[in-house]
Point group: C2
Chain length 326, copies 2
Protein backbone atom coordinates (compact mmCIF):
# COMPACT_ATOMS: atom_id res chain seq x y z
CA UNK A 1 0.00 0.00 0.00
CA UNK A 2 2.58 2.48 -1.13
CA UNK A 3 0.37 4.70 -3.35
CA UNK A 4 -0.06 8.05 -1.72
CA UNK A 5 -3.63 8.51 -0.65
CA UNK A 6 -5.57 11.38 0.88
CA UNK A 7 -7.10 8.98 3.40
CA UNK A 8 -5.58 5.96 5.10
CA UNK A 9 -8.96 4.39 5.74
CA UNK A 10 -12.52 5.16 4.67
CA UNK A 11 -15.21 3.51 6.79
CA UNK A 12 -18.73 2.78 5.54
CA UNK A 13 -21.25 1.83 8.19
CA UNK A 14 -24.13 2.70 10.45
CA UNK A 15 -24.20 6.18 11.97
CA UNK A 16 -25.41 5.45 15.49
CA UNK A 17 -25.46 7.08 18.91
CA UNK A 18 -25.07 4.62 21.79
CA UNK A 19 -27.24 4.90 24.89
CA UNK A 20 -25.34 2.94 27.54
CA UNK A 21 -26.51 1.86 30.97
CA UNK A 22 -25.49 -0.67 33.57
CA UNK A 23 -28.23 -3.19 34.27
CA UNK A 24 -28.64 -6.23 36.53
CA UNK A 25 -28.83 -9.62 34.77
CA UNK A 26 -32.56 -9.72 35.58
CA UNK A 27 -33.14 -6.74 33.30
CA UNK A 28 -32.11 -8.78 30.23
CA UNK A 29 -34.49 -11.53 31.27
CA UNK A 30 -37.40 -9.15 31.86
CA UNK A 31 -36.80 -7.42 28.54
CA UNK A 32 -36.21 -10.65 26.61
CA UNK A 33 -32.74 -9.58 25.51
CA UNK A 34 -30.13 -12.22 24.55
CA UNK A 35 -26.88 -11.49 26.39
CA UNK A 36 -24.03 -10.45 24.10
CA UNK A 37 -26.23 -10.17 21.01
CA UNK A 38 -27.19 -7.31 18.71
CA UNK A 39 -30.91 -7.20 17.95
CA UNK A 40 -32.58 -4.87 15.47
CA UNK A 41 -35.66 -3.15 16.91
CA UNK A 42 -38.27 -0.77 15.51
CA UNK A 43 -39.05 2.73 16.77
CA UNK A 44 -41.92 1.63 19.05
CA UNK A 45 -39.78 -1.00 20.71
CA UNK A 46 -36.92 1.50 21.00
CA UNK A 47 -39.19 3.91 22.86
CA UNK A 48 -40.63 1.23 25.13
CA UNK A 49 -37.20 -0.18 25.96
CA UNK A 50 -35.79 3.30 26.62
CA UNK A 51 -38.64 3.94 29.07
CA UNK A 52 -37.52 0.90 31.06
CA UNK A 53 -33.84 1.75 30.76
CA UNK A 54 -31.87 2.97 33.82
CA UNK A 55 -30.17 6.40 33.76
CA UNK A 56 -27.84 6.30 30.78
CA UNK A 57 -24.93 7.94 29.04
CA UNK A 58 -25.03 8.96 25.37
CA UNK A 59 -21.91 8.57 23.26
CA UNK A 60 -21.32 8.18 19.55
CA UNK A 61 -21.12 4.62 18.30
CA UNK A 62 -21.57 2.51 15.19
CA UNK A 63 -19.06 -0.24 14.54
CA UNK A 64 -17.16 1.15 11.54
CA UNK A 65 -17.56 4.70 12.88
CA UNK A 66 -15.88 3.62 16.14
CA UNK A 67 -13.05 2.14 14.08
CA UNK A 68 -12.68 5.34 12.06
CA UNK A 69 -12.69 7.54 15.18
CA UNK A 70 -9.93 5.28 16.52
CA UNK A 71 -7.85 5.72 13.37
CA UNK A 72 -8.25 9.48 13.76
CA UNK A 73 -7.16 9.14 17.38
CA UNK A 74 -4.01 7.25 16.26
CA UNK A 75 -3.26 10.26 14.05
CA UNK A 76 -4.27 8.49 10.83
CA UNK A 77 -6.15 10.16 7.99
CA UNK A 78 -9.67 8.78 8.11
CA UNK A 79 -13.08 9.39 6.58
CA UNK A 80 -16.58 8.01 7.09
CA UNK A 81 -19.74 7.47 5.07
CA UNK A 82 -23.03 6.76 6.87
CA UNK A 83 -26.32 8.57 7.40
CA UNK A 84 -27.78 10.53 10.34
CA UNK A 85 -30.95 12.64 10.54
CA UNK A 86 -30.94 16.41 11.13
CA UNK A 87 -31.67 16.06 14.86
CA UNK A 88 -29.86 16.31 18.18
CA UNK A 89 -28.35 12.82 18.13
CA UNK A 90 -27.25 13.41 14.52
CA UNK A 91 -25.36 16.53 15.60
CA UNK A 92 -23.67 14.58 18.38
CA UNK A 93 -22.60 11.83 15.97
CA UNK A 94 -21.20 14.27 13.38
CA UNK A 95 -19.41 16.35 16.02
CA UNK A 96 -17.71 13.40 17.68
CA UNK A 97 -16.53 11.92 14.39
CA UNK A 98 -15.13 15.20 13.08
CA UNK A 99 -13.58 15.97 16.47
CA UNK A 100 -11.69 12.66 16.19
CA UNK A 101 -10.05 14.10 13.09
CA UNK A 102 -12.08 12.16 10.51
CA UNK A 103 -13.73 13.66 7.43
CA UNK A 104 -17.52 13.26 7.45
CA UNK A 105 -19.50 15.00 4.75
CA UNK A 106 -22.71 12.99 4.24
CA UNK A 107 -25.78 15.27 4.27
CA UNK A 108 -28.18 14.54 7.17
CA UNK A 109 -31.55 13.04 6.26
CA UNK A 110 -34.43 15.55 6.36
CA UNK A 111 -38.09 14.59 6.98
CA UNK A 112 -37.28 10.91 7.53
CA UNK A 113 -36.71 8.63 10.51
CA UNK A 114 -34.62 9.85 13.46
CA UNK A 115 -30.90 9.25 13.91
CA UNK A 116 -30.11 5.62 14.72
CA UNK A 117 -29.58 4.65 18.35
CA UNK A 118 -28.27 1.55 20.05
CA UNK A 119 -29.53 0.81 23.55
CA UNK A 120 -26.59 -0.97 25.20
CA UNK A 121 -27.29 -2.85 28.42
CA UNK A 122 -24.03 -3.60 30.24
CA UNK A 123 -24.27 -6.40 32.83
CA UNK A 124 -21.92 -6.76 35.84
CA UNK A 125 -19.82 -9.28 33.84
CA UNK A 126 -18.96 -6.38 31.43
CA UNK A 127 -20.92 -8.04 28.60
CA UNK A 128 -22.92 -5.71 26.38
CA UNK A 129 -26.28 -6.59 24.87
CA UNK A 130 -27.37 -4.27 22.10
CA UNK A 131 -30.83 -3.30 20.83
CA UNK A 132 -30.49 -1.16 17.72
CA UNK A 133 -33.05 1.09 16.06
CA UNK A 134 -31.50 1.90 12.67
CA UNK A 135 -33.68 4.91 11.80
CA UNK A 136 -31.98 7.28 9.35
CA UNK A 137 -28.96 4.99 9.08
CA UNK A 138 -31.08 2.45 7.19
CA UNK A 139 -31.70 5.03 4.46
CA UNK A 140 -28.07 4.78 3.36
CA UNK A 141 -27.72 3.75 -0.29
CA UNK A 142 -25.32 3.85 -3.22
CA UNK A 143 -26.12 7.50 -3.99
CA UNK A 144 -24.56 8.43 -0.62
CA UNK A 145 -21.22 7.04 -1.77
CA UNK A 146 -18.55 9.56 -2.69
CA UNK A 147 -16.52 7.84 -5.45
CA UNK A 148 -13.70 10.41 -5.21
CA UNK A 149 -13.37 9.71 -1.50
CA UNK A 150 -13.23 5.95 -2.14
CA UNK A 151 -10.58 6.37 -4.83
CA UNK A 152 -8.60 8.63 -2.47
CA UNK A 153 -8.50 6.02 0.33
CA UNK A 154 -5.87 3.29 0.85
CA UNK A 155 -8.43 0.97 2.37
CA UNK A 156 -12.23 1.08 2.22
CA UNK A 157 -13.56 -0.69 5.32
CA UNK A 158 -17.19 -1.82 5.44
CA UNK A 159 -19.37 -2.90 8.34
CA UNK A 160 -21.21 -6.21 7.99
CA UNK A 161 -24.18 -4.95 9.97
CA UNK A 162 -25.22 -3.00 6.86
CA UNK A 163 -25.90 -6.35 5.14
CA UNK A 164 -29.28 -6.31 6.85
CA UNK A 165 -30.28 -3.61 4.35
CA UNK A 166 -30.53 -4.37 0.64
CA UNK A 167 -29.69 -0.87 -0.67
CA UNK A 168 -26.62 -0.80 1.58
CA UNK A 169 -25.56 -4.25 0.39
CA UNK A 170 -25.69 -2.96 -3.19
CA UNK A 171 -23.69 0.09 -2.12
CA UNK A 172 -20.98 -2.22 -0.71
CA UNK A 173 -20.58 -3.97 -4.04
CA UNK A 174 -20.37 -0.63 -5.81
CA UNK A 175 -17.88 0.78 -3.30
CA UNK A 176 -15.70 -2.33 -3.66
CA UNK A 177 -15.68 -2.02 -7.43
CA UNK A 178 -14.72 1.66 -7.30
CA UNK A 179 -11.93 0.95 -4.79
CA UNK A 180 -10.47 -1.97 -6.72
CA UNK A 181 -10.66 -0.16 -10.05
CA UNK A 182 -8.51 2.54 -8.44
CA UNK A 183 -5.98 -0.04 -7.21
CA UNK A 184 -7.08 0.34 -3.60
CA UNK A 185 -7.80 -2.29 -0.94
CA UNK A 186 -11.17 -3.34 0.42
CA UNK A 187 -11.99 -4.72 3.86
CA UNK A 188 -15.11 -5.93 5.60
CA UNK A 189 -15.98 -6.99 9.15
CA UNK A 190 -18.57 -9.71 9.69
CA UNK A 191 -19.92 -7.74 12.71
CA UNK A 192 -22.24 -10.29 14.29
CA UNK A 193 -22.94 -14.00 14.35
CA UNK A 194 -26.63 -13.60 13.62
CA UNK A 195 -25.90 -11.17 10.81
CA UNK A 196 -23.62 -13.81 9.24
CA UNK A 197 -26.39 -16.39 9.64
CA UNK A 198 -28.90 -14.16 7.93
CA UNK A 199 -26.65 -13.30 4.96
CA UNK A 200 -24.09 -16.11 4.61
CA UNK A 201 -24.34 -16.48 0.83
CA UNK A 202 -24.12 -12.75 0.15
CA UNK A 203 -21.14 -12.37 2.48
CA UNK A 204 -19.31 -15.25 0.81
CA UNK A 205 -20.04 -13.87 -2.64
CA UNK A 206 -18.70 -10.43 -1.71
CA UNK A 207 -15.62 -11.81 0.09
CA UNK A 208 -14.70 -14.12 -2.80
CA UNK A 209 -15.09 -11.45 -5.44
CA UNK A 210 -14.38 -8.08 -3.93
CA UNK A 211 -12.68 -8.19 -0.50
CA UNK A 212 -8.95 -8.08 0.28
CA UNK A 213 -9.08 -8.11 4.07
CA UNK A 214 -11.64 -9.97 6.20
CA UNK A 215 -12.23 -9.09 9.89
CA UNK A 216 -14.16 -11.54 12.06
CA UNK A 217 -14.21 -12.99 15.52
CA UNK A 218 -13.76 -16.72 15.87
CA UNK A 219 -17.42 -17.66 16.05
CA UNK A 220 -18.38 -15.43 13.13
CA UNK A 221 -15.69 -17.03 10.97
CA UNK A 222 -16.75 -20.56 11.96
CA UNK A 223 -20.34 -19.65 11.16
CA UNK A 224 -19.41 -18.14 7.81
CA UNK A 225 -17.81 -21.41 6.70
CA UNK A 226 -20.14 -23.61 8.73
CA UNK A 227 -17.33 -25.53 10.34
CA UNK A 228 -16.28 -26.26 13.92
CA UNK A 229 -12.57 -26.13 13.00
CA UNK A 230 -10.73 -22.81 13.01
CA UNK A 231 -7.95 -24.37 10.88
CA UNK A 232 -10.51 -25.41 8.32
CA UNK A 233 -12.09 -21.95 8.29
CA UNK A 234 -8.67 -20.32 7.89
CA UNK A 235 -7.86 -22.64 4.97
CA UNK A 236 -11.06 -21.54 3.26
CA UNK A 237 -10.61 -17.84 3.85
CA UNK A 238 -7.04 -18.20 2.53
CA UNK A 239 -8.60 -19.05 -0.82
CA UNK A 240 -11.35 -16.47 -0.58
CA UNK A 241 -9.83 -13.15 0.51
CA UNK A 242 -6.26 -14.29 1.20
CA UNK A 243 -5.92 -11.99 4.21
CA UNK A 244 -7.91 -12.35 7.40
CA UNK A 245 -7.85 -10.99 10.93
CA UNK A 246 -9.55 -13.14 13.55
CA UNK A 247 -10.14 -11.83 17.08
CA UNK A 248 -10.22 -14.42 19.87
CA UNK A 249 -11.37 -12.32 22.86
CA UNK A 250 -9.01 -12.59 25.82
CA UNK A 251 -6.89 -15.11 23.88
CA UNK A 252 -5.78 -12.33 21.52
CA UNK A 253 -5.99 -12.54 17.75
CA UNK A 254 -4.63 -14.13 14.58
CA UNK A 255 -3.49 -12.35 11.44
CA UNK A 256 -3.35 -14.53 8.32
CA UNK A 257 -1.66 -13.24 5.18
CA UNK A 258 -1.63 -16.12 2.68
CA UNK A 259 0.67 -18.77 4.16
CA UNK A 260 1.80 -16.49 7.01
CA UNK A 261 -0.05 -16.81 10.33
CA UNK A 262 0.83 -14.43 13.15
CA UNK A 263 -0.48 -14.91 16.70
CA UNK A 264 -1.08 -11.71 18.66
CA UNK A 265 -1.56 -11.81 22.44
CA UNK A 266 -4.25 -9.65 24.07
CA UNK A 267 -2.98 -6.58 25.93
CA UNK A 268 -3.51 -6.68 29.68
CA UNK A 269 -6.36 -4.71 31.24
CA UNK A 270 -6.58 -3.85 34.93
CA UNK A 271 -10.38 -4.11 35.06
CA UNK A 272 -12.73 -4.86 32.18
CA UNK A 273 -15.65 -2.43 32.54
CA UNK A 274 -17.52 -2.66 29.24
CA UNK A 275 -16.50 -4.76 26.25
CA UNK A 276 -18.40 -2.50 23.82
CA UNK A 277 -16.09 -1.46 20.99
CA UNK A 278 -13.34 -4.02 21.62
CA UNK A 279 -13.49 -5.43 18.08
CA UNK A 280 -13.99 -1.99 16.54
CA UNK A 281 -10.93 -0.51 18.21
CA UNK A 282 -8.85 -3.60 17.48
CA UNK A 283 -9.66 -2.90 13.82
CA UNK A 284 -8.53 0.73 14.29
CA UNK A 285 -5.07 -0.35 15.36
CA UNK A 286 -4.79 -2.98 12.69
CA UNK A 287 -5.95 -0.81 9.80
CA UNK A 288 -3.88 2.15 10.97
CA UNK A 289 -0.85 -0.13 11.03
CA UNK A 290 -1.54 -1.67 7.62
CA UNK A 291 -2.00 1.74 6.00
CA UNK A 292 1.26 2.90 7.60
CA UNK A 293 3.07 -0.18 6.25
CA UNK A 294 3.95 -1.56 9.70
CA UNK A 295 4.75 -5.24 10.30
CA UNK A 296 1.84 -7.61 10.93
CA UNK A 297 3.09 -8.10 14.52
CA UNK A 298 3.08 -4.36 15.14
CA UNK A 299 -0.35 -3.95 13.47
CA UNK A 300 -1.77 -6.60 15.78
CA UNK A 301 -0.09 -5.08 18.82
CA UNK A 302 -1.67 -1.68 18.07
CA UNK A 303 -5.03 -3.41 17.70
CA UNK A 304 -4.64 -5.13 21.07
CA UNK A 305 -3.60 -1.91 22.81
CA UNK A 306 -6.54 0.06 21.39
CA UNK A 307 -8.98 -2.71 22.33
CA UNK A 308 -7.57 -2.84 25.87
CA UNK A 309 -8.04 0.91 26.27
CA UNK A 310 -11.68 0.87 25.15
CA UNK A 311 -12.79 -2.01 27.38
CA UNK A 312 -11.34 -0.38 30.49
CA UNK A 313 -14.18 2.19 30.54
CA UNK A 314 -17.78 2.68 29.36
CA UNK A 315 -18.31 3.61 25.73
CA UNK A 316 -16.98 2.43 22.40
CA UNK A 317 -14.55 5.26 21.63
CA UNK A 318 -11.14 5.78 23.18
CA UNK A 319 -10.92 8.23 26.08
CA UNK A 320 -7.24 8.91 25.47
CA UNK A 321 -5.34 9.92 22.36
CA UNK A 322 -4.38 6.56 20.82
CA UNK A 323 -1.35 8.27 19.28
CA UNK A 324 0.10 8.14 22.82
CA UNK A 325 0.26 4.33 22.44
CA UNK A 326 2.60 4.57 19.45
Amino acid sequence: MSNTAKYDVLGIGNAIVDIIATVPNDFLFEQDIVKGSMTLIDQDRAQALYSSFPPATETSGGSAANTIAGIGSFGGKAAFIGKVADDGLGEIFAHDLRASGAAYEVAPLVDGPQTARCLIAVTPDAQRSMSTFLGASAEFCASDLDPEMIRASHITYMEGYLFDLDPAKKAFVEASEIARAAGRKTAITLSDLFCVDRHRASFLHLIRNSIDILFANEIELLSLYQTMSLDDALAQVRNDSGFAVVTLGEKGSLIMDGETLVEIPAASVERVVDTTGAGDLYASGLLYGLAAGLSLERCGELGSLAAAEVISHYGARSEISLASLL
Copy 2:
Protein backbone atom coordinates in the same frame (compact mmCIF):
# COMPACT_ATOMS: atom_id res chain seq x y z
CA MET B 1 -38.54 15.79 60.34
CA SER B 2 -41.02 13.27 61.56
CA ASN B 3 -44.08 14.34 59.53
CA THR B 4 -44.83 11.74 56.91
CA ALA B 5 -44.20 13.17 53.47
CA LYS B 6 -44.74 11.88 49.95
CA TYR B 7 -41.22 13.03 49.02
CA ASP B 8 -38.06 13.05 51.10
CA VAL B 9 -36.49 15.78 49.01
CA LEU B 10 -37.71 18.06 46.22
CA GLY B 11 -34.94 19.69 44.17
CA ILE B 12 -35.38 22.93 42.24
CA GLY B 13 -32.63 23.76 39.78
CA ASN B 14 -31.32 23.90 36.24
CA ALA B 15 -32.28 21.08 33.87
CA ILE B 16 -29.03 20.53 32.00
CA VAL B 17 -27.37 17.87 29.88
CA ASP B 18 -23.60 17.69 30.35
CA ILE B 19 -21.28 17.31 27.36
CA ILE B 20 -18.05 16.00 28.85
CA ALA B 21 -14.66 15.66 27.21
CA THR B 22 -11.07 15.25 28.32
CA VAL B 23 -8.89 18.12 27.16
CA PRO B 24 -5.22 19.09 27.53
CA ASN B 25 -4.49 22.14 29.73
CA ASP B 26 -3.70 24.12 26.56
CA PHE B 27 -7.32 23.81 25.46
CA LEU B 28 -8.49 25.93 28.42
CA PHE B 29 -5.90 28.56 27.55
CA GLU B 30 -6.84 28.63 23.85
CA GLN B 31 -10.55 28.86 24.69
CA ASP B 32 -10.05 31.42 27.47
CA ILE B 33 -11.68 29.16 30.08
CA VAL B 34 -10.84 29.62 33.78
CA LYS B 35 -9.95 26.23 35.27
CA GLY B 36 -12.44 24.99 37.86
CA SER B 37 -14.99 27.71 37.14
CA MET B 38 -18.56 27.74 35.82
CA THR B 39 -19.11 30.36 33.13
CA LEU B 40 -22.47 31.22 31.56
CA ILE B 41 -22.32 31.39 27.76
CA ASP B 42 -24.83 32.26 25.06
CA GLN B 43 -26.00 30.02 22.23
CA ASP B 44 -23.45 31.34 19.67
CA ARG B 45 -20.56 30.77 22.06
CA ALA B 46 -21.97 27.33 22.93
CA GLN B 47 -21.95 26.36 19.25
CA ALA B 48 -18.47 27.74 18.62
CA LEU B 49 -17.04 26.04 21.72
CA TYR B 50 -18.71 22.72 20.83
CA SER B 51 -17.12 22.88 17.36
CA SER B 52 -13.71 23.02 19.02
CA PHE B 53 -14.56 20.38 21.60
CA PRO B 54 -12.98 16.89 21.39
CA PRO B 55 -15.21 13.79 21.02
CA ALA B 56 -17.53 13.90 24.01
CA THR B 57 -20.00 11.98 26.12
CA GLU B 58 -23.49 13.26 26.89
CA THR B 59 -24.98 12.59 30.30
CA SER B 60 -27.66 14.32 32.34
CA GLY B 61 -26.44 16.96 34.74
CA GLY B 62 -27.57 20.06 36.59
CA SER B 63 -26.43 20.49 40.18
CA ALA B 64 -29.71 19.97 42.09
CA ALA B 65 -30.84 17.40 39.50
CA ASN B 66 -27.67 15.39 40.15
CA THR B 67 -28.44 15.53 43.87
CA ILE B 68 -32.02 14.39 43.29
CA ALA B 69 -30.93 11.51 41.04
CA GLY B 70 -28.56 10.49 43.83
CA ILE B 71 -31.35 10.50 46.40
CA GLY B 72 -33.37 8.28 44.05
CA SER B 73 -30.35 6.00 43.75
CA PHE B 74 -30.16 5.76 47.56
CA GLY B 75 -33.76 4.57 47.45
CA GLY B 76 -35.17 7.86 48.74
CA LYS B 77 -38.37 9.45 47.48
CA ALA B 78 -37.32 12.40 45.37
CA ALA B 79 -38.81 14.92 42.96
CA PHE B 80 -37.46 17.67 40.73
CA ILE B 81 -38.62 20.96 39.27
CA GLY B 82 -36.68 22.55 36.40
CA LYS B 83 -37.29 23.25 32.72
CA VAL B 84 -36.17 21.51 29.51
CA ALA B 85 -37.23 22.11 25.89
CA ASP B 86 -39.11 19.55 23.80
CA ASP B 87 -35.95 18.34 22.02
CA GLY B 88 -33.56 15.41 22.09
CA LEU B 89 -31.48 16.60 25.03
CA GLY B 90 -34.70 17.36 26.93
CA GLU B 91 -35.84 13.77 26.45
CA ILE B 92 -32.49 12.49 27.71
CA PHE B 93 -32.70 14.70 30.83
CA ALA B 94 -36.27 13.64 31.66
CA HIS B 95 -35.55 9.97 31.04
CA ASP B 96 -32.47 9.86 33.23
CA LEU B 97 -34.15 11.65 36.11
CA ARG B 98 -37.27 9.46 36.05
CA ALA B 99 -35.12 6.35 35.63
CA SER B 100 -33.33 7.29 38.86
CA GLY B 101 -36.71 6.96 40.57
CA ALA B 102 -37.47 10.67 40.91
CA ALA B 103 -40.78 12.33 40.01
CA TYR B 104 -40.40 14.90 37.23
CA GLU B 105 -43.54 16.45 35.81
CA VAL B 106 -42.61 19.91 34.49
CA ALA B 107 -43.92 20.44 30.93
CA PRO B 108 -41.13 20.91 28.35
CA LEU B 109 -40.83 24.38 26.81
CA VAL B 110 -42.23 24.60 23.26
CA ASP B 111 -41.05 27.15 20.65
CA GLY B 112 -38.37 28.58 22.93
CA PRO B 113 -34.63 28.12 23.41
CA GLN B 114 -33.12 24.62 23.34
CA THR B 115 -32.49 22.44 26.39
CA ALA B 116 -29.62 23.73 28.53
CA ARG B 117 -26.19 22.18 28.08
CA CYS B 118 -22.98 22.37 30.03
CA LEU B 119 -19.74 21.87 28.13
CA ILE B 120 -17.42 20.30 30.70
CA ALA B 121 -13.72 20.26 29.90
CA VAL B 122 -11.91 17.78 32.15
CA THR B 123 -8.14 18.32 32.41
CA PRO B 124 -5.62 15.58 33.32
CA ASP B 125 -5.69 16.78 36.95
CA ALA B 126 -9.40 15.70 37.08
CA GLN B 127 -10.52 19.35 37.42
CA ARG B 128 -13.66 20.29 35.52
CA SER B 129 -14.20 23.67 33.88
CA MET B 130 -17.78 24.32 32.89
CA SER B 131 -19.28 26.53 30.18
CA THR B 132 -23.05 26.56 30.52
CA PHE B 133 -25.69 27.62 28.00
CA LEU B 134 -28.89 27.86 30.05
CA GLY B 135 -31.38 27.85 27.16
CA ALA B 136 -34.82 26.56 28.22
CA SER B 137 -33.68 26.20 31.84
CA ALA B 138 -33.53 30.00 32.15
CA GLU B 139 -37.26 30.20 31.37
CA PHE B 140 -38.05 28.63 34.75
CA CYS B 141 -40.28 30.87 36.88
CA ALA B 142 -42.72 30.79 39.79
CA SER B 143 -45.56 29.46 37.61
CA ASP B 144 -43.54 26.25 37.11
CA LEU B 145 -43.67 25.56 40.86
CA ASP B 146 -46.04 22.85 42.02
CA PRO B 147 -47.20 24.00 45.50
CA GLU B 148 -48.67 20.58 46.32
CA MET B 149 -45.33 18.95 45.57
CA ILE B 150 -43.50 21.43 47.78
CA ARG B 151 -45.96 20.87 50.64
CA ALA B 152 -45.56 17.11 50.20
CA SER B 153 -41.75 17.20 50.55
CA HIS B 154 -39.75 16.95 53.80
CA ILE B 155 -37.02 19.19 52.38
CA THR B 156 -37.11 21.57 49.41
CA TYR B 157 -33.54 21.91 48.12
CA MET B 158 -32.65 24.79 45.80
CA GLU B 159 -29.65 25.36 43.56
CA GLY B 160 -27.82 28.68 43.93
CA TYR B 161 -26.96 28.79 40.23
CA LEU B 162 -30.58 29.79 39.57
CA PHE B 163 -29.84 33.10 41.35
CA ASP B 164 -28.42 34.31 38.07
CA LEU B 165 -32.02 34.57 36.85
CA ASP B 166 -34.45 37.03 38.39
CA PRO B 167 -37.67 35.06 37.78
CA ALA B 168 -36.03 31.99 39.32
CA LYS B 169 -34.85 34.01 42.32
CA LYS B 170 -38.47 35.09 42.90
CA ALA B 171 -39.58 31.49 42.55
CA PHE B 172 -37.12 30.47 45.30
CA VAL B 173 -38.66 32.94 47.73
CA GLU B 174 -42.13 31.68 46.87
CA ALA B 175 -41.10 28.03 47.18
CA SER B 176 -39.51 28.73 50.58
CA GLU B 177 -42.65 30.41 51.84
CA ILE B 178 -44.86 27.53 50.68
CA ALA B 179 -42.54 24.97 52.30
CA ARG B 180 -42.27 26.77 55.62
CA ALA B 181 -46.01 27.47 55.80
CA ALA B 182 -46.48 23.70 55.52
CA GLY B 183 -44.00 23.07 58.35
CA ARG B 184 -41.37 21.70 55.96
CA LYS B 185 -37.64 22.41 55.74
CA THR B 186 -35.83 24.47 53.12
CA ALA B 187 -32.24 24.09 51.91
CA ILE B 188 -30.03 25.92 49.42
CA THR B 189 -26.58 25.33 47.98
CA LEU B 190 -24.40 28.32 47.12
CA SER B 191 -23.20 26.45 43.96
CA ASP B 192 -20.33 28.65 42.85
CA LEU B 193 -17.97 31.32 44.16
CA PHE B 194 -18.68 33.72 41.32
CA CYS B 195 -22.42 33.19 41.71
CA VAL B 196 -22.08 34.15 45.39
CA ASP B 197 -20.09 37.22 44.38
CA ARG B 198 -22.75 38.30 41.91
CA HIS B 199 -25.67 37.88 44.33
CA ARG B 200 -24.27 38.14 47.87
CA ALA B 201 -26.99 40.42 49.27
CA SER B 202 -29.85 38.35 47.83
CA PHE B 203 -28.33 35.12 49.10
CA LEU B 204 -27.92 36.54 52.61
CA HIS B 205 -31.46 37.87 52.61
CA LEU B 206 -32.90 34.52 51.58
CA ILE B 207 -30.72 32.53 54.02
CA ARG B 208 -31.60 34.81 56.96
CA ASN B 209 -35.30 34.73 56.28
CA SER B 210 -36.21 31.49 54.59
CA ILE B 211 -33.50 28.80 54.72
CA ASP B 212 -33.07 26.02 57.29
CA ILE B 213 -30.05 24.23 55.80
CA LEU B 214 -27.17 25.89 53.96
CA PHE B 215 -24.79 23.89 51.71
CA ALA B 216 -21.53 25.49 50.64
CA ASN B 217 -17.92 24.67 50.05
CA GLU B 218 -15.35 26.48 52.15
CA ILE B 219 -14.51 29.23 49.68
CA GLU B 220 -18.16 29.93 48.89
CA LEU B 221 -18.95 30.30 52.60
CA LEU B 222 -15.95 32.59 53.17
CA SER B 223 -17.03 34.68 50.21
CA LEU B 224 -20.64 34.86 51.40
CA TYR B 225 -19.54 36.38 54.71
CA GLN B 226 -16.50 38.16 53.25
CA THR B 227 -14.13 36.77 55.83
CA MET B 228 -10.91 34.75 55.71
CA SER B 229 -11.82 32.84 58.88
CA LEU B 230 -13.92 29.69 58.64
CA ASP B 231 -14.71 29.94 62.38
CA ASP B 232 -16.00 33.45 61.85
CA ALA B 233 -18.12 32.35 58.88
CA LEU B 234 -19.54 29.45 60.87
CA ALA B 235 -20.42 31.79 63.75
CA GLN B 236 -22.35 33.98 61.32
CA VAL B 237 -24.18 31.16 59.58
CA ARG B 238 -25.11 29.81 63.04
CA ASN B 239 -27.18 32.99 63.49
CA ASP B 240 -28.49 33.01 59.93
CA SER B 241 -29.73 29.51 59.07
CA GLY B 242 -28.60 27.64 62.18
CA PHE B 243 -27.65 24.53 60.18
CA ALA B 244 -24.85 24.40 57.63
CA VAL B 245 -22.93 21.79 55.71
CA VAL B 246 -19.48 22.84 54.50
CA THR B 247 -17.51 20.66 52.07
CA LEU B 248 -13.72 20.89 52.29
CA GLY B 249 -12.63 18.86 49.24
CA GLU B 250 -10.22 16.06 50.13
CA LYS B 251 -10.25 17.24 53.77
CA GLY B 252 -13.85 16.05 54.11
CA SER B 253 -16.69 18.18 55.43
CA LEU B 254 -18.22 19.88 58.46
CA ILE B 255 -21.82 19.66 59.61
CA MET B 256 -22.92 22.41 61.95
CA ASP B 257 -26.24 22.15 63.79
CA GLY B 258 -26.42 25.11 66.18
CA GLU B 259 -23.69 24.54 68.77
CA THR B 260 -22.91 21.05 67.47
CA LEU B 261 -20.03 20.74 64.97
CA VAL B 262 -19.31 17.34 63.40
CA GLU B 263 -16.18 16.71 61.33
CA ILE B 264 -16.60 14.17 58.52
CA PRO B 265 -13.56 12.64 56.80
CA ALA B 266 -13.54 12.21 53.01
CA ALA B 267 -14.01 8.63 51.75
CA SER B 268 -10.99 7.17 50.00
CA VAL B 269 -10.91 6.97 46.21
CA GLU B 270 -8.54 4.76 44.24
CA ARG B 271 -8.18 7.22 41.34
CA VAL B 272 -9.93 10.56 40.94
CA VAL B 273 -11.07 10.72 37.31
CA ASP B 274 -13.46 13.68 37.17
CA THR B 275 -14.53 15.79 40.14
CA THR B 276 -17.79 16.83 38.42
CA GLY B 277 -20.71 16.18 40.75
CA ALA B 278 -18.71 15.69 43.96
CA GLY B 279 -20.60 18.39 45.86
CA ASP B 280 -23.93 17.40 44.29
CA LEU B 281 -23.62 13.76 45.34
CA TYR B 282 -22.33 14.70 48.78
CA ALA B 283 -25.62 16.61 49.16
CA SER B 284 -27.53 13.47 48.04
CA GLY B 285 -26.12 11.43 50.90
CA LEU B 286 -26.59 14.19 53.42
CA LEU B 287 -30.17 15.02 52.47
CA TYR B 288 -31.13 11.36 52.18
CA GLY B 289 -29.77 10.82 55.68
CA LEU B 290 -31.48 13.88 57.17
CA ALA B 291 -34.84 12.92 55.70
CA ALA B 292 -34.40 9.40 57.07
CA GLY B 293 -33.61 10.79 60.53
CA LEU B 294 -30.06 9.36 60.65
CA SER B 295 -27.34 10.79 62.90
CA LEU B 296 -25.30 13.70 61.57
CA GLU B 297 -22.21 11.45 61.48
CA ARG B 298 -24.03 8.89 59.34
CA CYS B 299 -25.50 11.59 57.08
CA GLY B 300 -22.01 12.93 56.46
CA GLU B 301 -20.61 9.46 55.89
CA LEU B 302 -23.26 8.77 53.22
CA GLY B 303 -22.39 12.09 51.59
CA SER B 304 -18.69 11.22 51.53
CA LEU B 305 -19.34 7.75 50.07
CA ALA B 306 -21.60 9.10 47.31
CA ALA B 307 -19.08 11.82 46.44
CA ALA B 308 -16.25 9.27 46.31
CA GLU B 309 -18.25 7.10 43.90
CA VAL B 310 -19.01 9.93 41.48
CA ILE B 311 -15.44 11.27 41.24
CA SER B 312 -14.05 7.83 40.42
CA HIS B 313 -15.54 8.02 36.87
CA TYR B 314 -16.67 10.54 34.24
CA GLY B 315 -20.07 12.14 34.70
CA ALA B 316 -22.00 13.67 37.57
CA ARG B 317 -24.42 10.84 38.34
CA SER B 318 -23.62 7.62 40.18
CA GLU B 319 -22.85 4.56 38.06
CA ILE B 320 -23.86 2.17 40.82
CA SER B 321 -26.98 1.93 42.96
CA LEU B 322 -26.13 4.12 45.95
CA ALA B 323 -28.49 1.97 48.03
CA SER B 324 -25.67 -0.61 47.93
CA LEU B 325 -23.61 1.77 50.11
CA LEU B 326 -26.19 1.67 52.92
